[in-house]
């Protein structure tokens, strides 16, 4: 073992012990009355966001783009006397169904996904890897020779399976040897902190699920790890899942509570779970102009992990123009709404931290140039 | 110098053996039917035996020179053929000629047009240097539009990379 590695282990060990302690205290903190702001924002935003969304939809630039009416001179060209500017009187129906009433939309979603879970393309659970990267029906399998024909997110793809991965029973002595390679969370900085922050509970084998689906047998919170002698690195791999379980349990228990629980900071595992869930439905068209536009979408969440449909809005865009931003927002919105299913896998006890979410969709690594 | 006539002969034989029945393979320009021609001194006018005939030019002198891949420089064999053409053209002053440049199919259409022009011009300049009046010689490039051989390998490509001297305007009898 190299010297640096040793140092790493020591650092990690000390850090974990310390942090675990902090986490314990953190639990105490949670029970304190929360910072109020969060709640208020949530209350306000429901309406306001609706207004915003409506406003942002007004522009309808596309519709107004008058398809130029031009006389065709060439005899052969069939005349299309384009009279497009005439927008068809908006049907009273569709809009009303959709816009003014955010609730129906919400209700619809779960209904549908339950009604038709078998629909072939319904993205599977949380598994990004399973999503076919290109199942597109290419007419000729295509001798694509491009050095990087499909800029597929290879390196990351390997790391994704965070939630499921941690099968390593922690009492196995070997765990020490494979501390890292299993899960390599992409955001290094976040990880150190947040992982350490979460309660390192025991049971490793559980994969992350939306809280609602977990059998809600309330269990006592596991005794924190620091008391154990297990080398810290081992737990890193499991911590994520533990946290998820914890989250699920607490969500189940605390859903009736009036206060907005804030809990300890979101762990990287928890954030990853959300990220992975959305990724699985974010359908990028790498050749499109909007693949050069990064958009940030804000939304409010209900306590059971669902998006308040009317609150979904684009708050920023970078690169491209208004129409590519619209298209990028459309894709982001589809990703969020399609993959929320019965609610995103978010820890209910930390609702205060995710009742507002801002997601940035950056296609840079997906696009072809 | 001895090998020269030999080379011409070889080239002529080789070429006559591989001609195709289309305009670019075998110029119909005047190879009359020997059967109905009147033998004169044992030579059928207009036939390949008649040294003043187009058929003689095409077959005995050799109407084409070949080029290496991507090249427009004349080969030794090509120069020998052109020497024969020059001699013939200086003897038969009534004829004008258009030199057609061709390329094989390996290359883009545009580039091959330009390459064919280079080849045709290389042949023309050589003939001019041998004394053929420039005014009698025009060039045209067909690029890869008119191959005489249609397979897609070097055996065919070698024959398609060519400059063909097409006679016009002379009498055939």
């Amino acid at each position: 073992m190299s010297r640096t590695r040793k140092i790493g282990n020591i650092v990690s060990g000390v850090g974990h012990v310390g942090l675990a302690g902090w986490v314990l205290l953190g639990g105490i903190f949670t029970s304190r009355p929360d910072p109020v702001d969060v709640q208020e924002v949530a209350m306000i935003s429901g309406e306001e966001f609706q207004a915003l969304v409506d406003a942002s939809r007004q522009p309808v630039e596309l519709a107004e783009t008058p398809t130029p009416a031009a006389p065709e001179e060439t005899p052969d060209a069939p005349e299309v006397d384009v009279a497009p500017p005439e927008t068809v009187t908006p049907p009273p129906v569709p809009e009303e169904v959709a816009e003014p009433a955010p609730e129906p939309v919400e209700e619809v979603v779960p209904e549908v996904s339950e009604a038709a879970p078998e629909s072939p393309n319904a993205p599977a659970e949380v598994n990004v890897q399973d999503a076919p990267v290109s199942s597109r029906p290419v007419e000729r399998p295509a001798e694509v020779v491009a050095p990087t024909p499909a800029p597929q997110p290879t390196p990351e793809a390997v790391q994704e399976p965070t939630p499921q991965e941690a099968v390593v029973p922690e009492d196995t002595g070997e765990t020490v040897e494979t501390p890292r390679e299993a899960t390599q969370a992409p955001a290094a900085t976040d990880r150190i902190v947040t992982e350490a922050a979460q309660p390192p509970a025991a049971s490793p084998n559980v994969s992350m699920r939306p809280p609602a689906r977990r059998p809600s047998a309330p269990r006592p919170v596991e005794t924190p790890a620091p008391t154990r002698t297990t080398p810290a690195p081992t737990q890193e791999t499991n911590a994520v899942d533990d946290a998820a379980v914890q989250a699920a349990l607490e969500a189940a228990m605390s859903s009736s509570s009036n206060t907005v629980p804030s809990g300890p900071p979101m762990s990287s595992g928890e954030k990853d779970a959300l990220r992975l869930a959305v990724q699985a439905c974010w359908n990028v068209d790498p050749g499109a102009r909007w693949a050069q536009t990064t958009v940030t979408v804000a939304m409010n969440m209900t306590q059971d992990g669902k998006v308040v449909g009317s609150s979904l809005r684009m708050i920023a865009s970078e690169g491209g123009d208004a129409s590519t931003a619209d298209a990028a927002f459309g894709a982001a919105r589809r990703a969020i709404l399609l993959c929320q299913k019965d609610g995103f896998p978010l820890p209910a006890e930390k609702y205060g931290q995710w009742q507002e979410i801002e997601m940035t969709f950056n296609p840079e690594r997906m696009r072809i140039r | 110098m001895k090998f020269l006539p030999m080379a011409v002969l070889v080239a002529a034989v080789a070429l006559s053996a591989c001609t195709n029945p289309n305009r670019f393979g075998d110029d119909a320009n005047g190879s009359g039917n020997p059967a109905i021609g009147q033998p004169l001194n044992g030579i059928v006018p207009g036939s390949a035996n008649d040294p003043t005939s187009v058929a003689y030019f095409n077959q005995a002198v050799g109407d084409r020179v070949l080029f290496l891949i991507d090249q427009s420089a004349l080969t030794d064999v090509g120069r020998a053929t052109l020497d024969g053409q020059a001699t013939w053209l200086m003897t038969n002053n009534d004829y004008q000629a258009v030199i057609e440049g061709h390329a094989d199919e390996q290359g883009t259409r545009e580039y091959n047009l330009a390459l064919g022009a280079r080849r045709a011009n290389a042949a023309r300049e050589y003939l001019v240097s041998k004394g053929v009046p420039a005014a009698r010689l025009r060039v045209v490039s067909y690029g890869k539009e008119r191959p005489i051989e249609i397979c897609s390998n070097e055996a065919c490509y070698a024959k398609n990379r060519r400059a063909v001297t097409v006679l016009a305007g002379g009498q055939t009898s």
């Binding site: 031009a70 809009e95 499909a150 449909g309 990028a328 | -």
Partner: protein
Amino acid sequence: MKFLSICAALVCAVALTSTAQAQQGPLKITIEEGIIQPLPFAVPNFQAETGEAGQLAADLSRVIAADLQGTGVFREIPSSAFIAQYSDFNAAISYPDWKAINAQALVTGAVSVSGNNVNVKFRVYDVVSGTTLGEGLQFSGTTDGWRRMAHKVADEVYSRITGEGGYFDSRVVYVSETGPKNDRKKRLAVMDYDGANVRYLTDSSAIVLAPRFSPTGDRVLYTSYESGFPRIYVLDIGSVQRRVLQSGEGTMSFAPRFSPSGQTVVFSISQGGNTDIYSMDINSGQSVRLTNTPAIETAPSYSPDGSQIVFESDRSGSPQLYIMSASGGEARRISFGEGRYGTPVWSPRGDLVAFTKQNSGRFHIGVMRTDGSEERLLTASFLDEGPTWAPNGRVIMFTRETQGAGGASSLYSVDITGRVLKQVQTQEGGSDPSWSPLQQ
């Protein structure tokens, strides 16, 4: 050692607290990876508002669906899978029914026919969010032009979902080919981008090559051997009248293209075995020599703003791509990969150059940025050449010729990701396609 550890612990703790504090605002997540899949859409047959519109309504819907499906960016959900029956343009959309079959976009429409006139209305829905994309729109035209109306609807749908222009209401002029390799008959033809409505513009008595659309789509430049020598002609598509562009006695001219303004033609003249690039004012016939080297310079193509020209030259010893000012002068080489490069074409978006590449006995259609970086090859075959851009810069059409004695040419298209490659159906063989701008 100890010191280090303590330090590390401190760092951890500090980092921890700071994140904890940073957690106060909204939860921020960045998504950088996604999936690449065709977007599932449904186009139920348009409602026939008048009795005689039934067939037309069905046909229109099919062409719209085929346009979208053909991009490879969308995937049509067959009507056999539909749960909801669509029959009334103004009825409420039952989103759950469309979600249930995984449709993410829905196009509905209605068609009415009165005598020779057709009116088409349509709407686009984002099924997932349960909203309309843009407002309803209507086109009117004649029954003869129904395909164009379908293409226009499809362009609008494409544009609302992708945020960029479509390319369906466009045409392609190309060389229609018959006969064996050594006696090929060639004539100019024009067709809709999808191969429909073919019309022949010349006969096949002389070789014709490489037609190029004018920026307004009403004229075509091409090279013909009708004089016995390659010369450039400009042909009016409507009247089929043509005239030769004079380029001097004893010269050959070819490889013409219009400038974006349509006023200038850039092309090659071959004289004395040397080929250079010239530009000519199409009305006055005044020409300017843009290159002057002993090398071959050909296949020029303007940048969309008309300020620059990309072309092919073998001045380095093998054909490579160069860019120069539209008025000539210094040129900078942009292609540096292995092999030979030719027929560069500037994309309508301005950021890419498509080209033909020949390497190790294979031909490719590829694209690179205008500084030569990020070269990507999109195709490979025995012989691919002569790319032309769709008006929105998303798709490239080109010539593919098969190998051997029975070799024949046909038109293919590939999108710029290289994922969607397909043959464009033509009645005869085809080569040298040139894509028109979107029709007005």
